[in-house]
């Protein structure tokens, strides 16, 4: 069951790991470390998680485009360089070398962040995440169940949107044909949808209270979530990979800490 390991980890620890790794990576300012760490993370996601490759690619693609956008704007709108004589040629233009290094490290950093985030998203059930937040991170049950209730409304609201649209059609309200009209008509959809959601929420709150929900923190759970050594092992493992990457980066003399580059 190796391929399911990531899916079975405690969701709160997984989220914590991703956030801590992202913070650690923000301190690194060379292009090599984020690139290698990103590749490692993608490999780990596919080796230890049950992930749909095609979907993963589709999610990754927009980050790739943003990273490219980030790359060229960092180059074009960069601060005046300290060492202007040292330049690098990219196609027809010459750029100061330090700007190019910073631009690539920022763009690759974004991809490394993306790979970490996708590791979490593709291997975590979202209802489990909320339940785990309540049990491991002391999220108040009132908020947790409120959010889960709201989450359950989403498919209903989709249905309601269809009804509103049909109602407009029956009454012969003209449909927006261009962007300007659809912006002007937004209230016609937003207000009934929100009003419906608020009514449902009010009823749900009454139902919860009438069934004895007090929001008491010392409640019992139908689906308990626990922490095991595997969860902490994952946390340490991701750190270890980062250290190995940084070590390799130092050996190859690519490595740079944050020391006022920006």
């Amino acid at each position: 069951m190796m391929t399911m390991l990531l899916n079975q980890l405690n969701p709160s620890i997984k989220a914590l790991t991703v956030i801590v790794m992202i913070f650690a990576l923000t301190l690194v300012f060379d292009p090599f470390t984020p690139l290698v760490y990103c590749l490692f993370t993608i490999a780990i996601t596919f080796m230890f998680g049950k992930v749909d490759g095609k979907k993963y690619f589709l999610y990754f693609l927009p980050f790739f485009l943003i990273a490219i956008g980030m790359l060229w704007t960092t180059l074009v709108f960069a601060d005046a360089p300290k060492n202007a004589a040292n330049t690098v040629q990219i196609f027809l233009w010459e750029f100061p070398k330090e700007d190019v290094v910073v631009a690539f490290s920022l763009a690759l950093r974004m991809l490394a962040f993306a790979s970490l985030s996708l590791l979490f998203i593709f291997t975590t059930n979202m209802v489990d995440f909320i339940l785990s937040l309540m049990q491991q991170c002391k999220l108040p049950p009132k908020i947790a169940y409120g959010v889960l209730a709201g989450y359950r409304f989403l498919p209903l609201m989709k249905e309601e949107l269809g009804q509103i649209r049909a109602a407009h059609q029956v009454r012969g309200v003209n449909r927006a044909t261009n962007i300007k009209e659809s912006i002007q008509q937004y209230k016609r959809f937003v207000i009934p949808l929100l009003a419906g959601a608020i009514r449902k929420a009010e009823r749900t709150a009454v139902a919860m209270e009438s069934k004895g929900f007090t929001g008491d923190k010392h409640r019992t759970f139908y689906r308990p979530f626990t922490l095991s050594w595997k969860d902490w092992a994952f946390f340490l493992f991701m750190f270890l990979i980062l250290f190995i990457t940084i070590f390799a980066s130092i050996q190859l003399e690519y490595f740079q800490w944050y020391k006022g580059q920006l």
Binding site: G69, M70, D79, A114, G146, G150, Y151, L262
Partner: protein
């Protein structure tokens, strides 16, 4: 949290869930603008990502409404597939704190248009400080960074502040908010006039 009614908590959660979806829908719009114009493309519509704190605070009028709703909306946005992952919860916390700071400065007593617009600006400033370090805006020239900040503040004031108030007022008119602070105020006004 102790003097919140369950009803208010559930409403706030539901608003946050709904706007989490809205936030997600605007992400590709922002990404498209950003891919075309660079990071400054986001700034024009950045205010949309602060709107739930303004709406929730304006309707419920209790300490924490702006902060909690924004945090939950960010979490939901992630749950539904914002690929930025858990870090976006932190972003939501920061934006929520920006708006909450402004409401705190009025001791959670004043909810008129200028205060709501300022709350949008508060979120803009807080989120900009975060973005400065996270996305490395410091690599850009000073003029570019300042125009980004000004655009984001304007977007926060107009999209979050003005639009947020207008949506809440329209909702109050339908009567569904009759048991919440905004609905009660609306009724008082009607009786008086």
């Amino acid at each position: 949290m102790a003097h919140w009614r369950l009803k208010e908590i559930v409403i706030m959660s539901v608003l946050a869930v709904v706007f989490g979806v809205v936030y997600l829908f605007f992400l590709p719009v922002g990404n498209m603008l950003a891919a075309l114009m660079g990071p400054i493309g986001y700034e024009f519509i950045f205010g949309i990502w602060f709107i739930v704190s303004i709406i929730a605070a304006y309707i419920i009028r209790k300490p924490g409404a702006a902060f909690l709703s924004e945090t939950i909306a960010a979490t939901v946005e992630m749950l539904l597939g914002n690929a930025t992952g858990p870090i976006i919860i932190l972003v939501g916390i920061i934006q929520g704190l920006g708006a909450e700071a402004v409401f705190a400065a009025t001791r959670w007593k004043h909810y008129n248009l200028p205060v709501l617009m300022l709350a949008g600006v508060g979120s803009a400033i807080f989120s900009f400080v975060w973005g400065y370090f996270y996305s490395g805006y410091a690599a850009f020239g000073t003029g570019y960074v300042i125009s980004m900040l000004l655009l984001r503040m304007a977007s926060g004031a107009i999209i979050a502040g003005v639009l947020g108030k207008s949506i809440s007022d329209a909702l109050a008119k339908t009567g569904v908010l009759s048991s919440f602070a905004l609905g009660k105020e609306e009724r008082k006004k009607k009786v008086a006039s």
